[in-house]
Amino acid sequence: MVIKKKLQTPEEMLQAGKELLQPWTLSENTPESDRLDVVIRAADIKACVKALIEAKWGYLSAITALDCPEYAVVEGSSQKVVVADKGSVEVLYHFCSGAAIVTLRVMLPYAAATMDSICEIIPSATLYEREAMELLGVEFIGTPSMERLLLPDDWPANVYPLRKAFTGLEKTNKVEEK
């Protein structure tokens, strides 16, 4: 199925996207009239991306990684604190076609924050994957280069600055002074 984009309204595009992704959909949601969120398993990412690309359903606009830590309430107050090492990272693949946006959502626990790279299908995704890898600690298997893209060369391993638990290098893991 190849989608004739010009003839379709955003609602029709979202409907077409919904049907394309049906085999892998765990749950879906329409947060805004021009958006469709589809929750899938990490293992199905390549199949889903392939289905969208082969049907010419738009283009990959961005990959967002979201930190979803576990919070604990401090006793005797309403203050919430982040529980270190517990929680998950959600990876969002935003595909756009005209005004319509389909977001594939994958939830990965910290302990197994690993999924397949989609670079075989969309080579340019590597920059987004490397960004998520360095800043939020999601490992993408098969991305062409695992070298540092954004963080300094002397940045400590396993410290991910966009996780909520990260509040500064001094407090977490100070870079060794030479």
Binding site: P31, E32, D34, R35, Y59, L60, S61, A62, T64, L66, D67, L92, H94, C96, G98, A99, I101, T103, I122, P123, S124, A125, T126, L127, Y128, S145, E147, R148, L149, L150, L151, P152, P161, L162, K164, F166
Partner: protein, 393 residues
């Protein structure tokens, strides 16, 4: 006896540092003689942790922070952020504010495209064109200063609207400025499409087909010069664009010349838009009230920056600070295309191919190291630029 031939690899490494640079990046071009066989990038030298910074400030403070993501296209960042917050809060800026947002966005596009024209011309050694286009760019910089008080970081947006209005004398000045620039732009179009020496550096150089552009995720004028029909202003109109529709401009050729022609045609379209908006500015208020605490939700805000689609993903948590703000700038998309395009081209074409995507990358005197089998030789970006110009003499 068997002889083993080990091909030697020459790696030309460019960057990352230059004090005058907005966005330092480091590139390594592997060359076989004159021809580039591989290209890689290393970014992040000016990573300022703004996404993280957003999570620790309130929405009003973030508006000012995000306006400073880029010094060239500052307005579109503030605009994308403000539009996102307004969607999350369930409010809409008044029509006059939306029109003024588009007006400033088009003025910004004019300044950015003229700046690019100068930079790209300079990389090719066409310094007269560089001087003229930057002189003319002052016209639009003065106009931006006239209406906002600032040459860059205009700070036109507030959450829920704008804080600047257009009066009659400003309207007259804008008309006069557009007339002058339009006349000059006709001349630039003539230069980039008719001048033999210029065409020698741009025609059939850096070719990218429509399919390649789509696959590599190119955006903005870079993609439109390969015939890709993407423009957020047309695909998903925002701010004042539903009321003042913009014409989609594409070129089929996909070479450097097409990238010049697309941007120059976009200049004409922007002049038309500026006149259209100031002549038909809707009456009414400039802003509406936005609550301090933003209800829980997620939104995606897309705008067309001068370099292409700019995407903001925002998540709110019911407090006065966002939970996450993700920024995907257009240059990031276009790096992938330039790294692929570079392969098969001459080293001498690199300065113009790099400049051709308008990659927030206007540095000239960067350090270039030529690695040659263990020996390395240092070049500056200026040396590479001169090498390119001399090559074509």
């Amino acid at each position: 006896m068997e002889t083993k031939h080990v091909p030697e690899k020459f790696i030309v490494s460019i960057g990352p540092q230059h004090p005058a640079l907005k966005e330092p990046g480091h590139f390594e071009f592997t060359v076989d003689g004159e021809v580039v066989t591989d290209a890689t990038a290393r970014l992040g030298f000016v990573h300022r942790g703004m996404e993280k910074g957003c999570e620790e400030r309130n929405y009003t403070q973030d508006l000012y922070l995000m306006e400073r993501v880029c010094g060239i296209c500052s307005h579109v960042h503030a605009l994308a952020f403000a539009l996102g917050v307004e969607k999350l809060a369930g409010v809409q800026a008044p029509p006059r504010a939306q029109a003024i947002r588009s007006l400033v966005a088009e003025l910004e596009r004019i300044h950015s495209h003229l700046l690019w024209l100068g930079v790209a011309a300079h990389e090719g050694g066409f310094d007269t064109l560089f001087m003229f286009s930057w002189r003319d760019r002052e016209t639009v910089m003065d106009l931006l200063e006239l209406i906002s008080g600032n040459r860059v970081n205009y700070s036109a947006n507030v959450l829920g609207g704008v804080k600047i209005d257009i009066n009659d004398s400003q309207r007259d000045a804008l008309h006069k400025g557009m007339d002058f620039l339009e006349e000059r732009t006709h001349h630039y179009m003539k230069v980039v499409t008719e001048d033999e020496t210029f065409l020698g550096r741009t025609r059939n150089i850096g070719l990218m087909t429509k399919d390649q552009a789509s696959l590599l995720g190119a955006v903005g004028p870079t993609a439109r010069a390969s015939g890709v029909k993407h423009d957020v202003r047309v695909d998903s109109p925002y701010a004042g664009y539903p009321q003042f529709p913009v014409k989609l401009i594409t070129e089929p050729a996909g070479d450097l010349e097409a990238r010049f022609v697309v941007r120059i045609n976009e200049l004409f379209e922007s002049y038309r838009m500026v006149r259209e908006i100031i002549d038909h500015l809707p009456e009414g208020e400039l802003s509406v009230k936005v609550p301090r605490r933003i209800p829980e939700g997620e939104t995606i805000s897309r705008v067309e920056a001068p370099r292409g689609e700019l995407l903001y993903f925002m998540k709110s948590n019911g407090t006065d600070q966002p939970d996450r703000v993700k920024v995907r700038t257009p240059s990031l998309c276009n790096w992938a295309s330039v790294l692929t395009l570079a392969v098969g081209h001459k080293l001498a074409d690199m300065p113009m191919i790099l400049a051709g995507i308008d990659p927030c990358f206007s540095c000239n005197d960067r350090m270039v190291t030529v690695n040659r089998g263990g020996n390395s030789q240092d070049w500056s970006w200026e040396d590479l630029r001169k090498y390119g110009i001399a090559y074509y003499k």
